[in-house]
């Protein structure tokens, strides 16, 4: 720790390569993660458009069934692992953790660089699967064996699936390096006065997220290696005896397909909280800043984040109610699942209470934060249907599930990314983003998401299954086609609207108004460093923290915000923490 704290900003002359490519600076690594993830979002987004093209006009899209399944698989894999996870923890986590806790860098800068540099190889291996014989995997992002284990079972279950597993294994190692770094940094490198209970909720969320990643991802890594062995070394971890695929008897014995599901979802459920906790943290801080009011119930928020983190490890079975697992186990998972709804509800009520008697200023980050709350409520409530095994019988593996997780996890997390981008862009690049374009982007995205995903609930209730190439072969699904066309059109509007964001991002990067040090008049430490912060973040001395980050609208104070670095004894400031 001390080695780091003493290594200050002596004019840091480094080559371009060391400075921007193989950088060990957490801010550069964060921006590298951010931009690479954004590239993957474009790939995942284009795949989503192709999926909607097929479902809107199943007869005339020109997409083959195996290509369609490859798109579905890669869309899910990319959006979850290669975009949302990486941008939230690798991008924002890297950029924000040292800046918000008052550290000069991460605890292990070299490991941090290594973590980023595992990401591009993982992407190359993943995308290579599109170009090998058989194409990208067909088995969905969940890759259930035997479909994913036997090359006879689907065209994409050939080399494409092997590459998918290798790519995931590389990426998981990157996540583990990152998580170790984030945990150690938060625990050991907090500046003077920054007690745990003075951390902004963004840091609490990123910290608990890192713990979840560190504990959950190794399980998927083990499962991926086992599946790889089943595929190439003749083992039978997930393959029972007596499989006959395409008339051919498979020489496997003794494995269990359900074992994969347990291992996969043991990661898979914490993973959805890896995607939603950081946005919850961003949104808490953004709501508070633009409400000019302290976040409501800070301690309860910390407790809720921790409770969600813990409970997320014991709910995985709700993905398996109809998998053939013992029904009594279903009852147990139902109970834990509905228990996790309590801290989630508390957080929502706290956000609402933060707005009550606030003095709200609206800017693009605030719009996206408010949109997040709306989307999270909508998606959270449909989780109550799916958490009940009885109702899940009917809705499992239908579009109701697709609607649910696109609201609560995908769209809400995406809104966290956008809110965070508009909010921290000035600090990252020293320029403001255009508010006018930001508002256009917000309206089209917010309405586009509701128009795309809300009607999917009806598809699911009416029984349309997930991952089908065409619903038209089922007479009872044919009447749904107008709804599918509507959803596709809405999805295209949603997709095209993202060009506004892309334009705003790159235009503002070069032409945006120069950002002041603290454009939002916020309290957290990153707003005391220059925009953008230099190597080492602060000059000679690190900031000292005297208060919690939520001293907004303190009665009798001169300004309606008091940064964390302002000593409590300053006249006019009230003792708060």
């Amino acid at each position: 720790m001390s080695a780091h704290q003493t290594h200050t900003v002596v004019a840091h002359k480094e080559s371009f390569l060391r400075r921007y490519i193989f950088s060990q600076d957490h801010k550069i690594i964060g921006i590298q993660y951010y931009l690479t993830s954004l590239f993957m979002a474009v790939v995942g987004g284009i795949l989503a458009m192709l999926i909607r093209l097929q479902l809107g006009w199943p007869g005339s899209s020109g997409i083959r069934p195996d290509a369609y399944l490859a798109f579905v698989t890669m869309h899910g894999t990319i959006m979850i692992f290669f975009f949302l996870t990486t941008i939230l923890t690798g991008g924002f986590g890297n950029f924000l953790i040292p800046l918000q806790i008052g550290a000069r860098d991460m605890a292990f800068p070299f490991l941090n660089m290594l973590s980023y540099w595992l990401f591009p190889p993982a992407i190359i291996v993943l995308l290579a699967s599109f170009f090998v014989s058989g194409g990208a995997p067909n088995s969905g992002w969940t890759a259930y064996p035997p479909l994913s284990a036997l090359k006879e079972a689907a065209p994409g279950s050939g080399l494409g699936q092997t590459l998918w597993l290798i790519s995931l294994a590389i990426l998981i190692v990157a996540f583990l390096f990152g998580s170790l770094n984030y945990i150690t940094t938060v625990l050991t490198l907090r500046t003077r006065g920054m007690s745990m209970m003075r951390l902004p909720l963004t840091i609490w969320a990123l910290f608990i997220t890192a713990i979840l990643s560190l504990l959950a991802f190794p399980v998927l890594l083990a499962a991926a290696v086992m599946l790889l062995f089943d595929r190439i070394a003749g083992t039978s971890f997930f393959l029972p005896a007596g499989l006959v695929v395409g008339g051919k008897l498979i020489p496997s014995a003794g494995g269990s397909p359900l074992l994969w599901q347990h291992l996969f979802w043991f990661l898979g459920h914490p993973e959805v909280y890896v995607l939603i906790l950081p946005p919850m943290g961003f949104v808490s801080d953004i709501l508070s800043t633009f409400s000019r009011k302290p976040i409501f119930g800070y301690k309860v928020m910390v407790a809720s984040i921790s409770a969600i983190g813990f409970l997320s490890f014991i709910v995985w079975g709700h993905h398996m109610f109809v998998s053939g697992m013992n029904p009594w186990l279903g009852t147990a998972f139902m109970a834990t699942t509905l228990v996790i709804a309590v801290p989630s509800a508390i957080k929502t009520f706290n956000w609402l209470a933060t707005l009550y008697k606030a003095r709200i200023t609206i800017s693009t980050p605030m719009l996206f934060a408010l949109g997040f709350v709306s989307l999270f409520v909508t998606g959270g409530l449909t989780g109550i249907f799916l958490g009940s095994p009885t109702i899940d019988i009917q809705l499992h593996d239908t579009y109701f599930v697709v609607a649910h997780f696109h609201f609560v996890m995908a769209s809400a997390a995406l809104f966290g990314v956008f809110a965070g981008t508009y909010y921290w862009f000035p600090k990252m690049f020293g320029r403001m983003m255009s508010e006018r374009l930001g508002r256009w982007h917000f309206w089209l995205t917010f309405l586009g998401i509701y128009a795309t995903f809300f009607p999917m609930h009806y598809l699911g209730i009416a029984g349309m299954m997930r991952r089908i190439y065409s619903p038209l072969l089922y007479p009872h699904l044919q009447p749904l086609q107008p709804l599918n066309v509507f959803i596709s059109v809405a999805a295209f509007v949603l997709g095209v609207s993202q060009l506004i964001f892309a334009f705003n991002f790159f235009w503002s990067l070069f032409r945006g108004e120069k950002a002041p040090v603290n454009p939002w008049r916020a309290n957290t430490l990153e707003w005391t460093a220059p925009s953008p912060p230099p190597h080492g973040n602060w000059g000679e001395t690190l900031p000292t923290v005297h208060r919690w980050p939520y001293d907004y609208s303190v009665p009798d104070a001169r300004e309606d915000y008091i940064p964390q670095t302002v000593p409590v004894a300053v006249p006019g400031a009230r003792r708060e923490v």
Binding site: A341, L352, T361, Y450, F454
Partner: protein, 275 residues
């Protein structure tokens, strides 16, 4: 910050627009759902047990809809009401024990009620089937459903994967007398009206999911396992069998048919199949 201060009018109007848009969305969601319930909704119910599932669905729908409407409207109200118009400060109020305890308790109580009701129905659905139920075996394969009836001896013949061939798709052992009278169909499941049925679900190759939307039945077909579901078909007619678990390129064509018929018609059909 100057840029924010000068655009105060815009802040004001954007904030109010957000609230109004949110309210319109709530109205659209409610009206859309009412509209959808007339044409894009739960498939007509055809089993006795499904009534409990539907009841729980509607109860959950009522509760979640109420919370959805209240919370979204309140979000809009707060933004509309507390948008910065005057120079006065926000409240610095950020804790309220009574409020926090009440919303935690109310959420916990409502969820506990839903959990308990869900648990009771789930347990009821998994009670042992009544004696005398019709027994059928369904074996999933890429991409169809092999349906087997045990015949008059009420016993399924032994099967072995080594014996599977084009003419013997289930690999029934010809040496086992119990298998002699077994009837096997493809994608054609006949059930008897008001007569409970036990269905043994298996798979030959990958995971499939046996989905009968009208009977509120869904059960994964997992290779290496035999899972049983049971229910009582209540209304005669034709219904779909769908595959609900991604099983390969033909996942979308893996359709079968359930025909619920009278006892006599069923016997006649089975007899005809044996000959």
């Amino acid at each position: 910050m100057d840029s924010l201060e000068t655009s105060k009018g815009r802040i004001h109007s954007t904030g109010k627009a957000f609230a109004v848009v949110l309210w319109i969305l709530v109205a659209a969601a409610v009206l859309g759902t009412i509209g959808a319930s007339r044409r894009w909704w739960l498939p007509p119910l055809a089993s006795t047990q499904g009534a409990d599932v539907d009841r729980l669905f509607y109860l959950t729908l009522a509760i979640t809809s109420l919370v959805f409407v209240l919370v979204q409207i309140l979000l809009g109200v707060f933004v509309y009401r507390f948008i910065a118009t005057k120079e006065e400060r926000a409240a610095s109020w950020h804790e309220h024990r009574g409020l926090e305890v009440s919303w935690t308790l109310i959420t916990a109580v409502v969820l506990t009620i839903l959990i308990s009701m869900g648990g009771l129905v789930w347990a009821k659905l998994h009670q042992p089937p009544p004696a005398g139920a019709l027994v059928v075996e369904v074996t999933a394969e890429q991409f169809g459903w092999r349906i087997r009836y045990p015949g008059p001896d009420e016993k399924f013949g032994r099967t072995a994967p080594q014996l599977i061939s084009a003419t013997n798709p289930l690999g029934i052992d010809p040496a086992d007398p119990a298998g002699q009278d077994d009837v096997v169909t493809l994608n054609d499941l006949r059930l008897v009206e008001n007569h409970p049925v036990r269905i043994l679900i298996r798979s030959k190759d990958v995971i499939h999911s046996f989905f009968l939307p009208n009977f509120r039945i869904k059960q994964d077909a997992v290779p290496g396992m035999a899972v049983e579901v049971w229910f009582t078909p209540r209304v005669a007619g034709d219904y779909p069998i769908a595959c609900a678990e991604l099983c390969g390129v033909g996942h979308y064509i893996m359709r079968g048919q359930v025909k619920v018929v009278s006892q006599e018609e069923f016997e006649r059909w089975l007899q005809g199949k044996r000959e």
